[in-house]
Amino acid sequence: MSGMIRRLLALEGVNVVCQFRDDGSFVVGYGRMSQEDMVQMARFAHDYRRMAQGNADQLAIFSGMRGWTPPRGWIVRGGAQSLCGVGNLVCMVDSQGAPLNEILLELREVSHW
């Protein structure tokens, strides 16, 4: 599994990748960041995932439209850096120039292992 996660770093524009457990605790991370910051990033990603999932659940309930839940992932995009989360994985990627479609596909594949 760690090899699969490390593989994500080979994708252009991917700077950091972290895996976390369902309770948000850090499992493993790779990239240009201290482990202390990776632990915080995993916690942030876990919290955001839960919040996004809760909001998607409410959207589905209020609208009655199927197909929103359970959500597969999320992207928060800043000017220089973006975070992409799928399952219990999160990547920090360059906002410009990164092959986002490929990164999301890889994240989805690796998250299933």
């Binding site: 597969r72 799928v86 986002l100």
Partner: protein, 134 residues
């Protein structure tokens, strides 16, 4: 400006919409009215506004905690649902703020796409490209 009609031309696009920072739906285009209606888009716009607000809080906190830069202000948010995705951007608003035009900020823009055909890079390119400038 990246028009709603142009957004509707993206692969897998099902609807495009504009909304205020408060989540209020301003305008929209719907390609599949049998699946999406204005009520759904109104709820979706409010959900996106909420998610952008929380992401902004976290980006602000993260930059203060780590001294890393490049996350704040949050420019866009994407939710990849089970079958559908929504991509929204406020980059045009940030451009207005940076140029000092804070009195009349443009709306957020968003597009709903079917996951099986969604092209997120194309969506961001359209939402954030030079043509998105007023």
């Amino acid at each position: 400006m990246a028009t709603l009609d142009a957004l509707l031309g993206l692969p897998g696009a099902m609807a495009a919409f504009e909304f205020r920072g408060s989540g209020e739906l301003l305008d929209h285009r719907i390609a599949y009215p049998d699946r999406i209606n204005p009520t759904l888009l109104d709820l979706l716009a409010h959900m996106c506004a909420a998610n952008l607000s929380i992401a902004t809080l976290q980006a602000r906190g993260w930059e203060q905690l780590t001294a890393m830069r490049g996350f704040y202000p949050v420019q866009a948010f994407t939710l990849i649902g089970f079958d559908w995705s929504v991509v929204v951007s406020g980059l045009n608003r940030e451009r207005h703020k940076q140029s000092g035009q804070v009195s009349s900020l443009p709306p957020f823009l968003g597009v709903v796409m079917a996951n099986e055909r969604a092209d997120y890079e194309a969506a961001f390119a359209l939402l954030e490209g030079p043509e998105a400038l007023p």
